[in-house]
């Protein structure tokens, strides 16, 4: 009977139903669109955040230019107290050189590094170290360099010089020059895309800096920072210091590394990450705020149109009460109606919002987005939420209707 | 005596017997699964080898047969009584005694108004609407009966022999007939389920007459109750092998299970330390070598566990490697076949059909016109009313109650 009543009621009052459906659909559509765009953007941002896979930067302690570190110290990193927590590291040697390829000339940065070097340290198991370990998200179109004269080039530098896998490039500095075969083009999502990456010894030769490196990026398994971890070790008691030292905070691991690399200063790079994190948080806030505003607006729209239809239907409610319907039965009928409409509205809103998100991202971000699977239940839930929030006041109103006053005369 | 009959009937035709026995087997399965990784195979073997278990399994078709019998008997008996459903199902319906007596014409008019068919006889009026689920139940029970009979027969009496069928060779003795495998054909013929078809043509010479018969993939062809179940394909190349010392020359058809390409099989060269391993090379064209006939054999000669020569030889050529010569002038196709004698198989096929029919009959009947019946029997000065419905119960109940009300109102007047 309930279904029969709902069916008749929905089919025979098209105007009111369409109005209600519209408000709910709008709410669900806007929520879907916002969340779709938001999901995509935060996904991209998270990708960038992830690009800071390494969390400790080891630099020369001395501030002046040209200071550098000794490559021989690298092995010691595998011998420190927290050696098992250090999952990887990569040395870098930077140099500004003149690049020439296919007739085009440019100044650029050449970076010598380990791509995936087998490192043997006495008393330890051999391990693979290099950028392939600490930056697994680097997307190389082509191959990683295998030979000493092979190099990979950042995607924007490659575009500038018209390079692709298989082409050749000449790097020169102070009269010395090297010819590199490009084995791949790398997309990293960061400043690396402007650089040329070649094996460390080759670049050391090119820059006449044998055995030297500019910096080391270390990736370590650490525990999240807490209040205790961020305290200055200098102010700790012996017991506290012991606990700090034996807890794998990023700071304590950094200190560990610093101790073995001569003339270095190791600093955690979580500052950058946390800055990005707070940006993401703010962005989250804005999106959540906007979404809830949109939802609230459509809830108000639902409420208004329900109020209007309730005014029309107050005779009906009064009659139901006269026939002996208790509050639950009245609510069941009206809420059932709203539930059905919001289900339809949710589906429609999802379809609409999905298109909207795609449109917006095409126009604004000029990128295609893939709507995630969870968006569908979310849209339905948003529709339910809007409908439920919008129907509280009208339903209360309906329950307060006094049959005597309405049916009089 | 009567009690005993009743008791027997209720044990043998009990609704719960089949599920209980299946439950027992499930329990045995679980216990086996605790200790053994091959629980299902073990259970089947156990059932085959343990007579009490086989007898327990045999109780299932027995029970189903009894149920089918009593169901049919009930149906016929009730049909004579004009109301079609068995006694036990009435227990689940409604039954009430009224003080009033009905006026038959009025009652019939009311029943007809509600869309019921009526029949009245000596002191009773029966009314019904819709179609009985009996046919569906019959087919379902029959389906289960056939299924479990099939399973029983299959587990206890299945015999299976694996033997190769080779082109141009006589049929294996296990087939129980004289004949020769004339041709084996594999064709790429994308169908609804199968992508390829296999045709094994067998020629029989029965004295003077000569007949041929073709065996396909599915349903499996049979000969005197023995099914041909092709398992996998192989090749019998004719190989001539000469080692460098020329001590002997091996030349013979060798039976190799080397299909599909990549699969390896080997042959011991008799009276020598040599073993030759073969694989079928991946075809150069898209066509399958087995169906195209363009074979290319990769071989590896092994002498005392050490490979001494390797190479590839296409059909019809000769290759020499490290002094070893291998010629491959001819090849015959092989189908490795299980010759299965299984009387249960056809039962299971028929059971599948029966169950399909049961579902096909039940669904529309239950949805569109479920059986609803009521009966009013004169009972002393009052009326005994019985009602039962397979579906559409709510509407049927309200009609029934309305008519009861009418009867007792008539009484009041």
């Amino acid at each position: 009977m309930l279904l029969r009543v709902l069916k008749s009621s929905l089919l025979n009052r098209p105007k009111a139903i369409v109005l209600l459906l519209l408000s709910i659909t709008m709410g669900a559509a806007v929520a879907t669109a916002f969340l779709g765009i938001y999901g995509e953007i935060s996904h991209k941002m998270a990708l960038e955040l992830r690009s800071y896979g390494a969390n400790i930067l080891v630099e020369p302690a001395a501030a002046e230019d040209g200071a550098d570190l000794d490559e021989a110290d690298l092995k010691k990193i595998k011998t420190v107290f927290w050696k098992y927590n250090i999952t990887g590291f990569a040395p870098y040697l930077f140099g500004i050189v003149d690049l020439e390829a296919g007739g085009k000339k440019a100044r650029g940065v050449v970076t010598g590094t380990w791509f995936g070097k087998e490192l043997e340290v006495e008393g330890e198991e051999p391990s693979i170290q290099g950028v392939r370990v600490i930056a697994p998200w680097w997307d190389v179109a082509g191959q990683w360099p295998q030979a000493a004269d092979e190099a990979i080039v950042g995607v924007s530098l490659a575009r500038r010089l018209g390079l692709k896998a298989g082409s050749e490039i000449v790097a020169g500095k102070n009269g010395r020059s090297r010819r590199f075969k490009i084995s791949g083009v790398v997309t990293t999502g960061g400043y690396e895309e402007e650089q040329l990456f070649a094996p460390l010894p080759t670049v050391q030769g090119l820059l006449a800096k044998e055995g030297r490196i500019s910096r080391v990026l270390v990736s370590a398994l650490t525990v999240p920072m807490d209040d205790f971890g961020s305290r200055d070790p200098a102010t700790m008691t012996k017991l506290e210091y012991e606990k700090w030292y034996c807890t794998a905070y990023v700071t304590s691991v950094a200190k560990n590394v610093e101790e073995v690399v001569a003339g270095s200063r190791a600093k955690p790079i979580w500052q950058i990450a946390s800055a990005e994190g707070s940006l993401l948080k703010k962005f989250n806030m804005v999106m959540i705020l906007l979404t809830s505003l949109a939802l609230a607006a459509s809830a108000i729209a639902v409420s208004t149109s329900l109020m209007a239809s309730m005014a029309e239907r107050q005779h009906e409610v009064a009659l139901m009460k006269t026939l002996g319907a208790d509050r639950l039965q009245v609510v069941t009928i009206f809420f059932g109606e709203i539930l059905i409409i919001s289900l339809i509205g949710g589906v429609l809103g999802y379809l609409l919002g999905d298109q909207l998100a795609e449109l917006v991202s095409r126009i604004v971000f000029s990128s295609k987005i893939k709507s995630p699977f969870w968006l569908f239940p979310t849209a339905i839930l948003a529709a339910f939420a809007v409908a439920a929030a919008g129907s509280v006041v009208p339903l209360r109103r309906a329950l307060l209707i006094k049959p005597v006053q309405v049916l009089k005369g | 005596m009567k009690r005993l009959a009743w008791f027997l009937r209720h044990i043998v035709a009990s609704r719960g017997a089949t599920p209980a026995i299946i439950g027992c087997f499930a329990l045995i399965y679980i216990i086996i699964a605790f200790y053994n990784d091959e629980a299902l195979v073990t259970l089947l073997a156990l059932t085959r080898s343990t007579p009490p278990l086989a007898m327990l399994l045999a109780c299932i078709p027995l029970n189903l047969a009894a149920r089918l019998f009593f169901e049919i008997a009930d149906f016929i008996r009730k049909k004579r009584l004009t109301v079609f459903l068995p006694q036990e199902t009435w227990a689940a319906g409604e039954r009430v005694k009224l003080a009033g007596r009905m006026e038959a014409d009025l009652l019939e008019k009311k029943l007809a108004g509600a869309g019921y068919h009526c029949r009245h006889g000596e002191g009773f009026i029966a009314a019904w609407k819709g179609i009985s689920a009996f046919p569906a139940r019959f087919f379902l029970l029959l389906g289960f009966l056939l299924l479990f009979s099939g399973i029983l027969l299959s587990t206890t009496t299945r015999e299976s022999v694996r033997t190769p069928l080779i082109e141009g060779e006589p049929l294996p003795e296990a087939m129980g007939a004289q004949g020769r495998v004339e041709q084996i054909l594999l064709r790429d013929r994308p169908g609804l389920v199968l992508a390829r078809t296999l045709a094994i043509t067998v020629g029989f010479f029965d004295g003077s007459t000569e007949t041929t018969k073709e065996f396909g993939l599915y349903p499996p062809g049979s000969l005197h109750g023995v099914y041909l179940y092709p398992r996998y394909l192989g090749l019998a190349p004719f190989v001539e092998f000469t080692p460098p010392e020329r001590a002997f020359a091996f030349s013979s058809y060798v039976t190799l299970m080397i299909y599909p390409p990549g699969r390896e099989d080997s042959v011991e060269v008799p009276g020598s330390p040599y073993r030759i391993a073969f694989t079928l090379a991946e075809p150069r064209s898209a066509r399958d070598p087995y169906s195209s006939g363009k074979y290319e054999l990769q071989f590896r000669v092994v002498k005392d566990k050490a490979a001494v020569a390797e190479g590839t030889v296409p059909l019809g050529s000769t290759v020499t490697r490290n002094g070893y010569t291998l010629a491959f002038p001819n090849a015959k196709r092989i189908v490795m076949t299980d010759l299965v004698r299984d009387r249960g198989l056809s039962f299971i096929w028929w059971s599948g059909l029966c169950m399909l029919v049961a579902v096909a009959v039940y669904m529309p009947v239950r949805l569109l016109a479920p059986r609803r019946e009521m009966m009013f029997v004169a009972h002393g000065r009052g009326t005994q009313a019985i009602s039962w419905a397979e579906g559409g119960k709510t509407a049927h109940r309200s009609v029934f109650h309305g008519i009861l009300d009418a009867i007792s109102r008539d009484q009041d007047r």
Binding site: V223, K243, A248 | V41, R95, V96, L198, Y218
Partner: protein, 441 residues
Amino acid sequence: MILARGVTMLLVWAILVMGLARAYAGEKAALTAGCAAGLVAGTIFGFFLFAAVPGEIPFFIIKSALAAAFISLFIVAAIVWYRGTAAEGDRPSVRHAVVAITVFLFAAGYGLLLVCRLPYGTDNSQFMALLLILLAMLGLWMIVYRLEPLLPNIGMAKGGTSLFAVSLLLFIASLSPRLDLFSPLSMKVMKLIHDFVHQFFESMLIPDHPFFRTDIWNYIGLLFSNGVGFWGGLAIWFIPTTGVTLATFREPLPSVAHVRQAAVRRKLIAAQLRERRRRLFFPLFAGLVMAAAAFNSSHPSVEYWDPKPLAVKADSAGEIVLPVKDGDVDLKDGKLHKYLYQKGAQKVRFFALYRSGELTVVLDACSICQPDGYGQNEGTVICYYCKTLIPLETVGKPGGCNPIPVPFAVDGSGVHLSAEMLVNTWVAQVQSEKKLPGGGK
């Protein structure tokens, strides 16, 4: 952590007793007696079992008992289904003794699980168990005599009691990977389906895949995928609750044909429908609990794998032998296996772990932190004291917060350790409270 576990256990206990009290509202004395006796007996039996039987056997016994209880649910569901054609009253009318025995069994099961769930077989856990039992008794009294009359009127479906109580026991079991039933069930179901398909092909003489179309074969291949075990297991997991729920729906309502007033008839029918809805509460609730148990089982990472240490003894030569494979225990399963060796007052905890293709044995402590021990998570072990994650590959190497390795030998009979060496290493290398300078701030 112990506290959290204790609270969970108590909550489940409260729900269990509340449900039983609802089911047997009229049998308070029998209920209370059965519950109390069962809890105490179960706990004592549990401690006795763990003390008397070494290794994994107690777990195996308890797990088997749980499995038996789960299987009995199927029997209950089948009986309810086949008996469900005649309408009866909503409350089962049973004797005091039956009530007492029923609740005794459930409470004993709970007590057993209580023992399993308490970490470490130390004196500490006996104390905890005692405390929990006391609290539970208090709760029992409160619930049965105070709260039960306040509960809303929910009917009891036939078979609902066992469904409800067993599902709660299964829920507790699902919290600990060792007792969990759902995961093994999924595995067995996967195996069964796999075997069945093969057997079916074989029996029905259906040719093998070289003849099938690739897409069709891919569909058949779905039956061999990993998900099949999970979904098939899930289907079996819910058969009892679903069966009882449907049986309750199938029960015919009492006839109202004798009533001659239509409105009265309708009112009776409405009341019957309402009553039947109420009776569905317990089966549906049990279904919910089973779902939670299945969820727990498939998300075990919520909790670190931290088995209760098995007490081991040294033989006369002072050697401890850990069999590599012993019944349910398989040292090579990639999981942490904890052991406890006690010599005089000195206890040594250590664990064996199979990682990177070889076995290793280490102390359940590192040389820098307090010996809170380790738990295992995916790919790492965690030091409970400093919460440092240690990659599994490096377990067995000294240094950092890694567990202290000990020398050991593996041969056909198992892992051999020297008891003396164990104690010496522990005493020499493990930090304990008294060795810390200053003893805290």
